[in-house]
């Protein structure tokens, strides 16, 4: 995998100071530090992923436990300043994913008369598998920066779907930063410092914290659960499925003549989906399983078998389909969408409680697809139209971004767009 590489742990005073956790070479690679039997958490936290590569990290990278996602409005109208921002972000992201500070000097090493160039809350924390993934929203391609001709056709504001109750202050954006890490403080540190670097050039439009990844993106990971209590992402696209990734996730060389800069990149569909948690919790177990189409315990299809058994949509229990016609797994299944699959990378969120005491909670849905017109919009439309789960969902935020390929050595991220 190009995204993962062995790196020194730079914020070395970690895990009590003297343990000397070394770097991890690649996913599931060997621990080469001097500590013999680290637990899984230690391994995860010592892991670092290179920022540069053919594809951006944070897509097929094994999903980390925590998310801080931020969308930005570009506030400058100067193309050169936008480029300088991407250049500065690239340098900072490369440092932070390595486990270093956001700036070249450091949180406590600089001139006492100057504010530090790193905010300091990650002092002593290991890289924690941090990935920083940057994308461009449709609005970036208006008349401000001379990019209109380079907008890929598929990069248009997502349409209104039934049951959307979108808050404009939680939707859209010119730029996005997806920071994922196994330590929430490391993810927040990344977004905070990138936002600070952006002042005067871009300002945060909205941001979202997430916890408890709701998808596995590698066969090495167990399938996690969403806040409905069900396993989520069993049939997700995984890093190991190289051919399927090329078919469903990475933008191909011939996909869009207007946007050769996006080849090797992807589209990021973000949806803030609130769950009416308290109402859901009152549903009988049998009904919950019928809505989803899987058992709640093991996660097997209602047509029988274990978690990874194939769905049998023709199976009948009594006189009715074993997997109901409005069950979530049926409505969104690739079999009914020309085989379209997506790489989901969502996170649970709980933003405290609402005024009535209910949880302000749900799923911050993230999917990476090769083309939203074929791989996201039709599926979302079908779901909005006929999915039994919709009764318990309300989408409050929505955004689409084009995620350029990874930056090569010496390049800033997205450089081909401005060439």
């Amino acid at each position: 995998m190009v995204e993962s590489g062995g790196r020194g742990v730079s914020r070395r005073k970690l895990l009590g100071g003297g343990l000397g956790i070394g770097a991890i070479a690649g996913v599931g690679g060997a621990l080469i530090g001097d500590r013999l039997s680290p637990d899984a958490d230690d391994v995860a936290r010592a892991t670092s992923y290179a920022f540069r590569g053919a594809h951006q990290a944070g897509i097929v990278t094994p999903a980390q436990d925590r998310l801080h996602f931020a969308a930005f409005d570009v506030t400058t109208t100067d193309r050169a300043e936008l480029i300088s921002l991407l250049d500065d972000w690239t340098a900072a992201a490369e440092r932070m994913t390595r486990g270093d500070g956001a700036g070249p000097i450091g949180p406590v090493e600089g001139d006492p008369l100057l504010p530090p160039d790193d905010t300091g809350e990650a002092i002593g924390l290991p890289p924690s598998g941090l990935t920083i993934t940057i994308g461009f929203g449709p609005s970036l391609f208006d008349d401000r920066f001379g990019l209109a001709e380079r907008r890929p056709a598929a990069l248009a504001r997502l349409p209104h779907f039934p049951a959307d109750d979108l808050d404009p202050t939680r939707s859209d954006g010119d730029l996005c930063v997806q920071a994922c890490a196994d330590d929430p403080q490391v993810a927040v540190h990344a977004v905070r410092n990138l936002a600070r670097i952006a002042f005067g050039r871009a300002s945060v439009r909205w941001s979202q914290l997430g916890f408890g990844r709701t998808s596995s993106t590698s066969t090495s990971q167990d399938t996690p659960r969403n806040l409905f209590g069900f396993k989520d992402g069993t049939a997700n696209l995984k890093a190991e499925e190289r051919a399927a990734l090329d078919e469903h996730v990475w933008v191909g060389a011939d996909d869009d003549a207007a946007a050769p800069w996006l080849v090797g990149g992807s589209y990021l569909c973000a949806r803030r989906i609130n769950m009416t948690i308290e109402v859901w919790d009152r549903q009988p177990l049998q009904d919950q399983e019928q809505f989803v189409g899987r058992t709640k315990g093991e996660g097997g299809p209602l047509s029988g078998g274990g978690e990874f058994a194939d769905m049998d949509f023709d199976a009948v229990t009594g006189t009715a389909p074993s997997i109901p016609v409005d069950a979530h797994v049926r409505v969104v299944h690739p079999d009914f969408h020309d085989g379209a699959r997506m790489l989901r990378r969502g996170y649970n969120f709980v933003d405290g409680s609402d005024a009535l005491g209910g949880l302000d909670a749900g799923l911050f849905f993230i999917a990476y697809v090769r083309d939203p017109a074929t791989h996201f919009i039709p599926i979302q439309s079908a779901m909005a139209r006929s999915d039994a789960l919709m009764e318990y969902l309300k989408t409050t935020g929505s955004a689409l971004f084009a995620v350029p390929p990874g930056a090569a050595s010496g390049e800033y991220l997205g450089q081909a767009l401005f060439a």
């Binding site: 008369l113 005067g200 300002s203």
Partner: protein, 389 residues
């Protein structure tokens, strides 16, 4: 109204909060050159410096107070007025270190036991050397000019504040509420322009500028915002009881008396260059924490007057030191000018008549734009002090 003591912009008076965390003249950078390192034994009636001559360069004075009262130590120019560097508030038994960059010339060292008077002075000579300090003599002239100008500005604003406060309290006491309401944000403009100076007087600031939300249990509420609430009673709710004529006199006279005290003190203040630069930064922090959020003028919603006044004061302070920044960091100077202009453009768009739109009438997206512009200015402004000292 100040909520933190760390941003004090001004010192020099015995009544001040004693800690000046941001004071740039107290440096920890040591000089390892014995010919430029001195000790000072400061007692109640003597100021013994371990030498009276040094080669030009970075000089350090380690001052120990062996006396019984708080003291200060200064290095003064040959006119005995210009302050090259100072350390303040050295308690009995305590030590502090002063680092100054001194070009060749004649100077005075001075201790001020009790922090009063001209101090106990001795001549001090700096001889030419290959190691000239960062600030050449011509730059020192720029600094002197900036300090003189800034002191004049603050004095002038303070005088105008006193004059307009006097008119304001007369209108209020006379029951001319329309007149008082019209003058309220205009008079406060002079306070907000020098807010970092005014609020450095820890005894006066709470009496003059405390917001109701910041009251401690049992604390009496006086000052501008007490009167503000009384002038905008509709905002205060149905169960608000307007102040009686006698109460009006009490609060109005108290505000005027405190303003007079403030003005008397301000007229005697002098500044150091880092204080001017920190004052500029501090005023933008006032904007970011109180004005752009609409918290300062809770009853009148005249926050944008204060906003503009804070920016005025910050800009005056910046422009005073701008020639120095131009020398040391021309890119920073250019960026600050650009960011001040951009913020001013947004503020100008909110002008209504002689004043501004009420905060509650400004749409959220325009508030966000103002906030973005404040952030865009504040980030480079946070590097100003390092560029002038």
């Amino acid at each position: 109204m100040k909520r933190s003591s760390a941003l004090a912009a001004v010192s020099a008076l015995a009544v001040l909060a004693p800690v000046l965390a941001a004071c740039g003249t107290e440096s920890t950078a040591p000089s390892d050159d014995a010919t430029r390192a001195f000790t000072v034994n400061a007692s109640d009636d003597a100021c013994d410096v371990s030498g009276d001559t040094a080669p030009a360069g970075t000089l350090t004075f380690t001052v120990t107070n062996s006396g019984s009262v708080v003291t200060e130590f200064y290095v003064l120019g040959d006119d005995g007025l210009r302050i090259l560097g100072e350390v303040e508030n050295i308690g009995p038994g305590a030590s502090n270190k002063l680092t100054v960059n001194a070009p060749d010339g004649d100077y005075f060292t001075a201790c001020k036991p009790g922090m009063k008077g001209d101090g106990i002075r001795s001549a001090f000579t700096v001889t030419p050397s290959g190691e000239q300090p960062a600030l050449a003599a011509s730059d020192q002239e720029l600094v002197d000019q900036a300090l003189t100008n800034y002191a004049s500005y603050v004095k002038d604003q303070s005088a105008q504040l006193l004059a307009k406060t006097s008119r304001f309290v007369d209108l209020y006491k006379a029951g001319d509420d329309d007149g008082a309401r019209a003058l309220y944000p205009v008079a406060r403009t002079h306070w907000e322009r020098i807010e970092t100076v005014a609020e450095s007087f820890g005894d006066l600031d709470p009496k003059m500028d405390l917001r109701e939300a910041d009251l401690e249990p049992g604390q009496e509420w006086t000052g501008w915002h007490r009167i503000e609430k009384d002038l905008w009673p509709a905002e205060a709710g149905a169960d608000y009881r307007p102040l009686t004529a006698a109460q009006r006199v009490t609060y109005a006279d108290d505000l005027l008396a405190n303003t007079r005290t403030l003005d008397g003190r301000v007229q005697k203040l002098t500044y150091t260059i880092d204080q001017v630069a920190n004052g500029s930064r501090g005023l933008l922090e006032e904007v970011a924490t109180g004005k752009v959020t609409g918290e300062e003028e809770f009853w009148s919603h005249t926050d944008l007057w204060d906003f503009q006044a804070n920016v005025d004061g910050a800009r005056v302070a910046f422009e005073g030191v701008e020639p120095i920044v131009e020398t040391n960091d021309p890119e920073l100077a250019a960026e600050l000018t650009k960011r001040f202009d951009a913020l001013q453009e947004l503020l100008d768009a909110q002008r209504v008549g002689d004043g501004f739109a009420l905060y509650t009438d400004v749409p959220p997206d325009q508030i966000k734009q103002l906030s973005d512009a404040v952030n865009a200015l504040s980030e480079p402004l946070s590097r100003l002090t390092a560029a002038v000292v």
